[in-house]
Symmetry: D2
Subunit: 221 residues, 4 copies
């Protein structure tokens, strides 16, 4: 697919990111949940680093043991938001790199109705102030895109960030299109590792990787 | 204080645990949120290790490159439950050691009423099956003990674990007494790092360490 | 075997240490060198923690955000020495727990002579001062014990430590006996994870785990 | 400075790398040796990731739980070589990302002569085979460049790698020029974080960061 100006597909040019994404898809390798979570963390670090190339820096005088270095440092740390529970290991990677960031945790619940429609509601939301901040919302996978859009909208009722980066490792084409349609073009950037063409009626990406939450933390009761 | 049979206070005999607990209390050192979270993780590893001494092991024949070793391994991995959001780094430490465990995440909401009483409700609960399992519920701090008791009861509506270990780094004496009073003596063990005598009306431990969630993840909006 | 007063065999009472030791022996699991190194690190953390129970602590007044806590902290951090290259991941685990420690790296070369005898020499030695310090020398495996004894003696030419802890995950019975014979009884403690009965003429432990250096870092040219 | 075709100066375009490099220079922040080593590791991960963009990939069919994904993976893992002891935390970062790589550890000794000249010799060298491999040699700092050149030459006596990447976080201009002069233009790429103009007679970079080995592992005896 062609990247629009607001979408960056990081897996399109080759790097270790592709290796880590191949491993989280691999039905054998993902049996080791430690390596699965570790891959999500490493991917989070890579996303954090790539997004950091678009943040603001200022020159700072750093006193070394032998002199003064005039070097660029981050002007502000972004706020790191994630969606429970599948987003936690990916978020952990972001936090390993943006270690001075404040954070937000959101759980969005999707309720299916008898007529085939559905509605979303927030179960849990704990957020640091986002007004005027650069906000990164990260989730491991994006199926229909509705969780991401809903979380974006919920967080924006709490303040007006300077810029929002939405980051997901694996997106469906349908979800990506939904995001591009639902979100403003301005002050929003979408970061994706890889895009899968198919989305099943049960909202599974194909070929996908299965259920990221279950693979990281065990099946639900 | 004297340990009752169901309570283990790990900080009573000296070890690196005391060093790490001193660091998370220290108002200067805790300004580095990376080190703060890292200390919670290391403490989680130590609790995991100490609790692991009371789990069941079985002999297994392991094929090495040079022969066969008959060695003890864990019979079952425990389920690791934690309370959002402050419990996450402590839980992360448990998961680093019990890397094959399945997990549960709970958010318990405490609502104060006009008459000074309060009630609890669950906002978010995502749990793996716990029936017949050893269950570890970990939270960084325990003030009144009501979150821990409520989480325990909520999880036990979902299944009947073989044994429950409740783990908290810093407890108030009041909270610890509450736990001992509210929970069954049988099949329950309480693990505490250190106990503080004072609990303020606003449910802060004194000397305590402040708000563990804010220190790990930033102040809430 | 019976522990003498100077020897602690940590695997004798069951804990997660046994699980991790089983994994590093397992010819299948050890194919994942990331997990192999990670297991060595976790074992290093456990050894560090157990050894820390025998170190000296002093009461310190820590200023919290809400008061003053009188808590025990390490009086001094031990010096962490290791033997290249196989000792590095084990040492990494020690350093993760004793994060304020200074360190020493030693490479001891074993040269076989035609008559079947051998001699040892130091290739590389980089050490922080050890005089008056508690010194921990860690190596992943101990075959004949000669590297450990030689490293101990080399380091003691550089200063007189207050106490020396020698730590190895897997020892041969022969190596352990050699250590007990060659080292002073006073101010020396030997820490072992597990002991294997057999030692081949090529100095491999049986059942052992193979070559720890190769498994962690790849075969040598 | 202008990059020649064989030199990549990663700090020239802004990213989190600049933040981490500022922290390792900062005389206050570097007092926390845990954070100092952690910054070197994170920088190692960033270098590994950037270098990985120039490695070879091949399409692989990965079987997911729901289908087959045709994705790029690394054709071969590079060999990771480092120079003792200061290079170890930087190497650790490389190994966290290239977790399936084999490794080499080298210690090069610099001996000063009375006439002001000096000669180099190898104290310790433990290397996996490098013939036909992509080889990465990483060292935290590069002063005169002689250790890096000597290590490069020593390793090339052992085999002929397909390509060599030389990576250093902080280089002096003099060292960088020495490297460009001494190494072949073909099949060699030099990766640098930042370049300092001044190099003292005692081979300290100014403003530099001090002695990376001492900061990571403690002063030598």
């Amino acid at each position: 697919m062609k990247s629009s100006s607001m979408v960056r597909i990081l897996g399109q040019s080759h790097s270790l990111l592709n290796q880590f994404m191949a491993e989280i898809r691999d039905a054998d390798i993902q049996q080791d949940s430690l390596r699965f979570r570790y891959n999500l963390e490493r991917i989070g670090e890579i996303f954090a680093y790539e997004i950091s190339k678009e943040l603001a820096y200022e020159q700072e005088e750093v006193v070394t043991s032998l002199g003064i270095a005039n070097v660029p440092v981050l002007t502000h740390y972004p706020v790191l938001a994630t969606i429970l529970r599948a987003g936690l290991p990916f978020h952990q990677g972001f936090l390993k790199f943006f270690d001075r960031s404040a954070n937000a945790f959101i759980s969005a619940y999707r309720m299916a109705h008898k007529d085939g429609s559905f509605s979303m509601s927030i179960e849990y939301a704990s957020s640091t102030p986002i007004d005027g901040k650069v906000l990164i919302i990260c989730d491991t996978m994006m199926a229909s895109g509705s969780s991401m859009v809903y979380t974006y909208k919920e967080l924006l009722t709490r303040g007006k960030p300077a810029h929002v980066h939405l980051a997901t490792i694996l997106a469906s084409m349908e979800g990506l299109n939904q995001l591009k349609k639902s979100l403003p073009k301005k002050n929003v950037t979408i970061w994706v590792g890889d895009v899968d063409d198919e989305l099943t009626a049960q909202l599974f990406l194909v070929p996908g990787l299965g259920d990221a939450g279950d693979l990281a933390y065990g099946e639900k009761d």
